[in-house]
């Protein structure tokens, strides 16, 4: 028994547990194997596993012969917690599920609540939601490409990708006040109108981000190592995708142009001019191409949305639902506007009661259940929202594309090389906050 390799006898032969050390020195002491079957544990704190994902990989040489994925390390009980908050507070929790695409979580939930309420938000609020979601799609894809690049050693792809994402986060900060976990989109509208100068800043952002996308294409689009690492790796065809429930860029990279923005349009996507990029090779390279092109198309949508922005309300015209307070930025950050506080504290008792009731107790939602969907950066994001007529959600279930897509890891990886596991998992782009919720 060596220092590095305590062993035990099992029915399948002697099993050695290696947790580090030099392979050669271990082998020198253990002696040659008659039969070599290596079970490798990757994660949950491995830098290449995209967060707290644990994979147990069985190897024959460097070939993966079996694989299991283990999740649940980031389970925070979001769905349970939401049942104890008002409908509006629910957004604060759900935005933290898939933390790289928070505005999609907020939108899909709010669309569900609004469908239960039977209200439609004003055109300007719809456009702001759409605008934010498309910026979010760009920022999410940048993280997918940046971390995917980092995991394969392309550190410049990472630094460039995170720099580009930073530009997106700047826009979020300008519009919502926060870089993540916005809770900006709420049942009945959006928390606040666009601030002054937002449209100009977004026009500048469009120029900058197009430069970044072109830069990425130049940086890795023809790069031979990048291409070799991705091409013909992690293949999954359309049949496999549908059987495993895989949607989003993975499905489109396999050749099916299924994008809910086109097939089941919401928030007026049917009136926008954009393409749904597809590839037909179904490998990691195709997924990379699809993501890059999708960013380009999202920028096109944002450009059109900016042209259509017209002044108007951002809350439904129903004081029983719409948030009573206007927010504004004060010396200590975002908060209730002084004007509103003056009104309820000094002016009108009725306003104070109304504010208090709506903020602490919340509004009631007629009973029933709905299932709403949006196309998130990772595929079909669904919200199964149930009300029993009360002021709190009876049940909210998120159909998380990360969770469903992650089931395909074994199909992508078995039979390939151990190094391709990293590329394959990166190309699924799972976000563990969404997987575990």
């Amino acid at each position: 028994m060596t220092e590095f390799a305590p062993s035990r006898q099992t029915t399948e032969g002697r099993v050695y547990n290696l947790t580090g050390g030099d392979w050669d020195s271990v082998m020198a002491e253990v002696g040659p194997f008659k039969q070599e079957r290596l079970v490798l544990n990757m994660g949950p704190q491995h830098p290449s596993t995209h967060g707290v994902l644990r994979m147990v990989v069985e190897l024959e040489g460097e070939t993966v012969t079996d694989m299991r994925t283990n999740i649940g390390y980031l389970h925070t009980g979001i769905e349970k917690n939401v049942e104890f908050r008002t409908w509006t507070q629910g957004v604060t929790f759900l935005t933290r599920a898939d933390y790289l695409a928070p505005l999609f979580n907020e939108s899909v939930y709010c669309l569900g609540v609004e469908k239960l309420l039977g209200v439609e938000v004003p055109a300007r609020a719809q456009l702001i939601r759409l605008l934010l979601m498309e910026i979010n799609r760009v920022s999410s894809h940048w993280v997918a490409l940046a971390t995917g690049g980092m995991e394969m050693g392309a550190l410049t792809a990472m630094t460039n990708g995170l720099r580009a994402r930073e530009r997106c986060l700047d826009m979020f900060e300008l519009i919502t006040g926060l870089r993540m976990n916005h809770a900006f989109i709420r049942p009945g509208g959006v928390a606040q109108d666009l601030p002054e100068g937002a449209v100009e800043a977004l026009r500048q952002w469009i120029k900058d981000i197009r430069g970044e996308i072109n830069g990425l294409r130049k940086l890795v689009g023809q790069q031979p190592i990048w291409i070799n690492r991705l091409k013909d790796v992690g293949w999954l065809g359309v049949e496999g995708c549908l059987a495993l429930g895989v949607t989003g860029p993975m499905l489109r990279a396999a050749g099916l142009p299924w994008d809910l923005r086109k097939t089941e349009p919401y928030l007026g996507y049917e009136t926008f001019d954009f393409e749904v990029p597809t590839e037909d090779t179904g490998d990691c390279w195709a997924r990379f191409l699809v993501r890059v092109e999708e960013m380009w198309q999202s920028v096109r949508i944002i450009e059109q949305a900016l042209e259509r922005l017209e002044p108007g309300p951002v809350w439904v015209d129903d004081p029983k639902i719409a948030w009573p307070a206007k927010l504004s930025i004060g010396p200590d950050g975002m908060g209730n506007s002084l004007e509103h506080v003056q009104k309820i504290m000094n002016g009108s008792m009725e306003s104070l009661i109304h504010h208090f009731k709506l903020v602490t107790e919340g509004f009631r939602v007629p009973p029933g259940q709905v299932y709403t969907t949006v196309e998130s950066p990772r595929g079909e994001l669904g919200a199964h929202v149930i009300s029993d007529g009360g002021t709190r959600p009876y049940r909210v279930h998120l159909r998380e594309p990360s969770f469903v897509n992650l089931q395909s890891t074994a199909a992508l990886c078995i039979g390939g090389m151990i190094s391709d596991v990293i590329a394959s998992v990166g190309s699924i782009d799972p976000v563990m906050g969404g997987v575990d919720r």
Binding site: G72, K80, T247, T360, E361, Y371, Q407
Partner: protein, 243 residues
Amino acid sequence: MTDDASTDQPAAEIAPTTISHGPGDGAVSAEKHGMFGVAGSGDTSGFGGLVRDKWVAPAAARPYGSYFDELVDNLQIVYPEFDAAVTKIVVDRDELTLEIKREHLLGIAGALRNDQSLRFELLSSVSGVDYFDANQPESARLHSVYHLTSMTYRRRIRLEVALTVSDPHVPSLTKLYPTADWQERETWDLFGIIYDGHPALTRILMPDDWDGHPQRKDYPLGGIHVQYKGATIPPPDERRVYK
């Protein structure tokens, strides 16, 4: 529940108010008092002192509207035992729900997936719901809910199977839709619905040795012994005193 809670004014003695649900007339006579046996007015959810009618979705009558009539017609042709299998058809907010018996789940899902007039290629979502009723502990409170998507026809349908806690068995859809694998594991983990025929029905989000199924309505938020630290967090109604 703490002892001193009993000395407080119980919820029923606060003048009960019946809440109207607005549209829909599915109210039945069962009443519901607060949540988790909240006794005093410590419940800040707004309905601690309120009595509400329990709501049951009303059955739909023909014509169902939209593509629902055609879909149901086709399913009746493809699956002759339709009338025995489906206990209720609900059309609410432009969504079609078939409440079905568990013996027929595989038959109906198979017909929906395989027949060319239906073609529900994608099982979008499997989730559980607990319609808990403290007065009727043996009611079919656990629901296994399936959302199916037809990509060919761009249609959606919801299947719902109701189960009791003492017999929470339902056939697994993993053979028809492999995507049900993790989603059924999640529903088993959080609701305790047992999917017969699932290849490895183990916990997926909670730790393997966890007791109970946390998203059931009679499972409190907090108040669970935290196995890592030995700390106990009181349930919400005991956490802070608003009394």
